[in-house]
Symmetry: C2
Subunit: 300 residues, 2 copies
């Protein structure tokens, strides 16, 4: 059972136990464009206590750089190097693990942030935000010449998803089984200030269904994302805690990496999912209502 934090001593003991703090963003630091109360103070407290702070997001629509802009806008201190998005992790995976040859290209279902991270890694790509593939015109294989240099298909959340992109990605993957099938993350839904919309996992679902094949998934809860963090900042898993709002991404991610886990209830997960007969089998180590609760440790 998860330990419910409430007393000052509970939070103090957490600070003593963990040196590296990984945070999910949406539902933990903010909800859409609204900052969660107390977050700025708590992050300042952690930094003042010499904790390493990192931000780990599955959102692949933004690059680390555009994420940084969001932090700045909301007044949350963060360095680009502390931000790990699944677009960045996907680009790192393609160059470091997949070792895609430099003359090969990636066919992208995704948005500008994903393209920016690919460019930063020196990876060539097709599709994405190109005007040619952002169309509702009918698609036919008769009018299309596939690019023989495509060596991978990378799919993330793409709010301009359409039949041309799905058909091209499907054709690349179907013609040549050596073409890698990657997804930035498998979140079924995407939280917005007004409610949930279909997420990256839902956008790649047509390809899974048409191919009858599962992709390699990069983002939380997969360890690929953690390897990507480890390559930049070494940490001791025993003294690291993952803070998140989603059981099947954030908390599972922490558990998969042997980290401690703290669930906050300001995002997707509701109280009813962690207690009672229908509780999820994914059990966080600690639970608190909001990241803002740690303000109890700030000397007044």
């Amino acid at each position: 059972m998860a330990a419910r934090l409430s007393l000052k001593g509970d939070y103090e003991s957490l600070l003593e136990k963990y040196d590296t703090w990984l945070f999910d963003c949406d539902g933990v630091l903010w909800q859409g464009d609204r900052l969660i109360e107390g977050v700025v103070d708590v992050l300042e407290l952690l930094r003042s206590r010499k904790k390493s702070v990192m931000f780990v997001t599955n959102n692949a629509t933004k690059s680390r750089r555009s994420y940084k802009t969001k932090f700045d806008k909301l007044g949350v201190q963060a360095h680009v190097d502390e931000i790990f998005g699944s677009a960045f992790a996907s680009a790192a995976y393609i160059s470091s693990v997949l070792k895609l040859q430099k003359d090969k290209k990636v066919y992208v279902i995704g948005m500008a942030g994903m393209e920016e991270e690919l460019r930063e890694e020196g990876i060539s790509y097709l599709g994405g935000t190109s005007s040619e593939d952002n169309t509702l015109e009918p698609f036919t294989l008769a009018n299309w010449t596939p690019d023989p240099s495509v060596g991978a298909v990378l799919c993330g959340l793409d709010t301009s998803i359409n039949y041309t992109k799905l058909s091209k990605a499907f054709a690349y993957l179907r013609r040549d089984p050596s073409v890698a099938f990657l997804v930035s993350n498998e979140d079924s839904t995407y939280p917005t200030a007004e409610g949930l919309l279909p997420g990256a996992g839902s956008i790649s679902a047509p390809l899974r269904f048409a191919l009858g094949k599962d992709p390699v998934a990069i983002g939380k809860p997969n360890s690929t994302m953690l390897e990507c963090i480890k390559a930049k900042h070494d940490y001791d898993p025993k003294r690291t805690i993952m803070v998140g709002d989603r059981l099947n991404t954030d908390i599972e991610f922490g558990k998969n990496g042997g980290l401690a886990t703290l669930l906050v209830l300001t995002g997707i997960t509701q109280e009813t999912e962690i207690t009672g007969p229908n509780a999820s089998p994914i059990v966080p180590d600690y639970v608190t209502s909001s990241l803002g609760d740690l303000r109890i440790l700030i000397p007044s």
Copy 2:
């Protein structure tokens, strides 16, 4: 094991055994816009021997009326009443089985043929080919007022699929569990003359994934389609044969309905899928290379 037809006597015995002949269209009668050799002669032969002939297609992009135009164009004799498409079957299901109240509407992910069949059944709908929902502009719940009269979401192949349609369909299904989730058919791919593209099952995959819920599927191999045929033409299952090119739709459909099944190899299924160690567990009663093989019975 399936009986491989080759001798004149094999085909003659088939004609003697079965009075009602159900045909899939794409891959059986034609491939894309190309008629399969001998099909016109074979259908004439069947009609001359007083057989009932019916055409059963999962393609929900066309209404029966527009299907009839395709038959005419390719010179294949057919009456509208002999054609059963999954768009027609879906509309029939909504009015006869779901009994959707007349003041309720269907949110459509689908094309003009599906809308035409809904109109013919007197069912109101939203989405589909409406210009409002055929856009690649960003979608936000903030700018959208859901229509409270939506009582069902019907999804078929839609080559104008986009994030606005997926988001609205998801929102209707998520807000109110009493809203019915229907798909015209679950074909993972859609055959065109130049190759396979993602099919209706792939178009509905984002909704399944985002909702974590399976829809009610109308088309082959589901019995809903057969009930729809039975309501129009009574037949004796023991004297009825289903002819198709797909094991997991056509042949399974025939088997589910207690009909005999004949597989032709002019479409999706390859020889290797029905013989050898990797053969499919779905075994047709009979196999022949092409429907045109039945020309052997035509007196010269």
